[in-house]
């Protein structure tokens, strides 16, 4: 059966209208649109819409049936989990942030009328999900394996500069590509000598005619070896006195551009199936059409992406913490010592109580951060709080889970040691725990001074 590529403006417009009702909604506004939950009288609501619950259910089922069974094997081998990512892509669980205008629906059509569309479409069009909905899905996938979830999330990070700053043509080309096939992209900013200090990056881009020639070294690039294209941040103004807000430029770079050398896959402590590499740029030529906004706008774009991507990272850390809590709880109800299940010993039950406190609070934090940005507000304060808190508690909760498992927890036959190894990176990437504190303090004091 051949597949027709069928652009359905009407469908997209229709679905988009439906989604806009949901996506910019808080649970409050959308509660009135849902069929079973009554409109809350207090305004503030923790209720999910029916559609959000269905999304969550789908992601939850996928994590339990597809991710969890294979995650330990991928962790041991470090192999890139492409089959899982492809399945998730087919279900629409990846690339949720891509606006609907930039996707292509591939369908098996009976005839061209929408009513006769047969639903086994390999749908890949952008879904324009709200940040909140994306975070719900991310938490559920991370529950399964944060290594796989990071590989998928790195796509969001790489795309975000294009989504927020790309021209229509750039979006059509580079975002459209990701919706037609399960391709990956990557966010190429960190260097061996500059991580937190983004303004200290040394990769140079020199304008020569209609091109920019790029030289430099990037490091710890997630999806580095698998990406079809990169978002690259490079310094275009060589004057050391030039301020950071004008000295850098953001580019979209095709991964097969000559001069790009992809380093070896790094063996990390955790999230081992995720592909992390160094990338060297040697006289790489980028056409000027691939500049985002214009020369000198790069820093703002690179930082702006984080407000959108920190809530999902916090959601991922929460998913890991929830998994650690669930594993520890079921073990504590089975393992017996001193004549009773260990959950009945107060030392263990207190540990579980504190783990539960942390998980619930991390969840509320990322949900607030995502909700803020969906309301159209700048969410930096909440996003940093969520990421900092979730990263810290993920480590604490995973470590406590290993503790509850005792000797078994230290062993690779049990699932919690992987969680502890996977958790550490949440205090490091997407802005270290220390950088988050800088941001929170700045935001907090900024408010106090007003």
């Amino acid at each position: 059966m051949h597949t027709d590529i069928f652009y359905i403006q009407v469908l997209r417009a229709g679905v988009r209208c439906g989604i806009r009702l949901q996506s910019s909604s808080t649970a409050t506004a959308s509660a009135t649109a849902s069929s079973s939950s009554p409109a809350p009288p207090l305004g503030f609501s923790f209720e999910l819409t029916d559609q959000q619950k269905e999304f969550q259910q789908l992601a939850r089922r996928f994590a339990r049936e597809e991710i969890i069974p294979v995650a330990p094997a991928y962790d041991k081998s470090g192999e890139y989990p492409f089959p899982i990512i492809k399945k998730a892509w087919e279900l629409g669980l990846v690339n949720g942030h891509i606006p609907q205008e930039y996707g292509v629906l591939k369908l098996d059509t009976l005839n061209t009328a929408f009513e006769n569309l047969i639903c086994s479409s390999l749908f890949s069009g952008g879904m324009g999900l709200s940040s909140f909905d994306s975070c719900l899905i991310t938490e559920e996938l991370a529950y399964g394996c944060t290594g796989m979830q990071t590989a998928m999330e790195a796509n969001s990070l790489g795309q975000m500069p294009v989504i927020i700053a790309g021209s229509d043509a750039q979006k059509k080309k580079y975002l459209g590509r990701l919706t037609e096939e399960p391709l990956m992209c990557a966010y190429c900013v960190t260097e061996p000598g500059a991580g937190s200090d983004v303004a200290g990056i040394k990769t140079r881009a020199v304008k020569m005619g209609d091109e920019y020639v790029v030289n430099g070294q990037k490091m710890w690039i997630t999806n580095g070896g698998k990406a079809n294209w990169y978002f690259l941040l490079a310094r275009t103004n060589s004057d050391p006195k030039c301020s950071a807000s004008k000295a850098f430029t953001g580019f979209i770079v095709d991964a097969d551009t000559p001069g790009i050398q992809i380093g070896r896959k790094e063996m990390n402590m955790g999230q081992r199936c995720s592909d992390t590499r160094g990338i060297t740029f040697e006289d790489v030529r980028i056409p000027k059409e691939n500049v985002l906004i214009g020369e000198g706008s790069g820093f703002k774009i690179a930082m702006g992406a984080f407000d959108m991507t920190r809530p999902p990272v916090a959601a991922g850390a929460t998913g890991l913490a929830q998994r650690a809590l669930d594993e520890a709880t079921s073990y504590a109800l089975e393992r017996k010592t001193f004549g009773k299940v260990i959950a009945e010993h107060q030392a263990v039950s207190f540990l579980l109580a504190e783990m539960a406190m942390k998980v619930e609070l991390a969840r509320m934090a990322y949900q607030r951060a995502a909700w803020e940005v969906d309301q159209g507000r700048r969410n930096t304060y909440y996003a940093s709080i969520a990421k900092a808190f979730a990263g810290d508690i993920a480590n604490q909760v995973a470590s406590d889970a290993v503790q509850i498992f005792g000797g078994n927890g230290f062993n690779s036959e049990y699932p919690v040691e992987k969680l502890m190894r996977d958790a550490k990176i949440y205090q490091i990437y997407e802005g270290t725990a220390q950088i988050q504190r800088l941001i929170i303090a700045r935001e907090h004091l900024g408010r106090a001074k007003k």
């Binding site: 229709g14 679905v15 439906g18 989604i19 069929s35 079973s36 029916d50 559609q51 269905e54 999304f55 789908l58 089922r61 996928f62 087919e90 279900l91 629409g92 669980l93 949720g96 098996d108 009976l110 047969i118 639903c119 086994s120 479409s121 749908f123 069009g125 879904m127 999900l129 899905i137």
Partner: protein, 237 residues
Amino acid sequence: MSGRVLVGVKRVIDYAVKIRVKPDNTGVVTDGVKHSMNPFCEIAVEEAVKLKEKKLIKEVVAVSCGPQQSQETIRTALAMGADRGIHVDVSGKDYENLGPLQVSKILAALAKQEDAQLILLGKQAIDDDCNQTGQMTAALLDWPQGTFASEVSLEGDKINLVREIDGGLEHIKINTPAVITADLRLNTPRYATLPNIMKAKKKKIVTVKPADLGVDVTSRLEVLKVEEPPQRQAGRV
């Protein structure tokens, strides 16, 4: 031939939940308990959607009998690929007493109303394990039935079916219109994709009452007591 398939979907307590008997022994606890579509009904929906994808039938209509929440189950069927839904509103005491006889009367009435060519059901529900609705529906309509189906193929206006029976596999050929009940190995139900979940919101669910279909849902059965099976004792070696 209308090319229309009616698929019955039942909202049941999720298979993974630990069932608890109510303290008054009148039934099991359902309040606040996770419910989902009966797994055999999922298999039936999947088969119907597959037939539509093969262009052997034209429309899949998902039907559920129960309270307001049954609409969620219909939505799941819509997200898997059904075209529209019919919610037969039965609630309160009527719902507690709803059994295969009443449901099969409802399905028979709907099949006539919708001019259905095929009725696909799960072989049984995991809450009552009755394994009766399909058979009763066929009898009421005087249609052939293919129960415990593990393979279904349409051949013109006939259906080739493989049934899983105690003695092995039985191959039969039945006329349409017919009732088929799905067994475990018929297919593996698909995940509803995210976009299909969103599309499902646009599909119509119509609500009707059993009285509208001329069906009386009073039960001829009375549940006297529900209790847990005896606790398993430790074995002795």
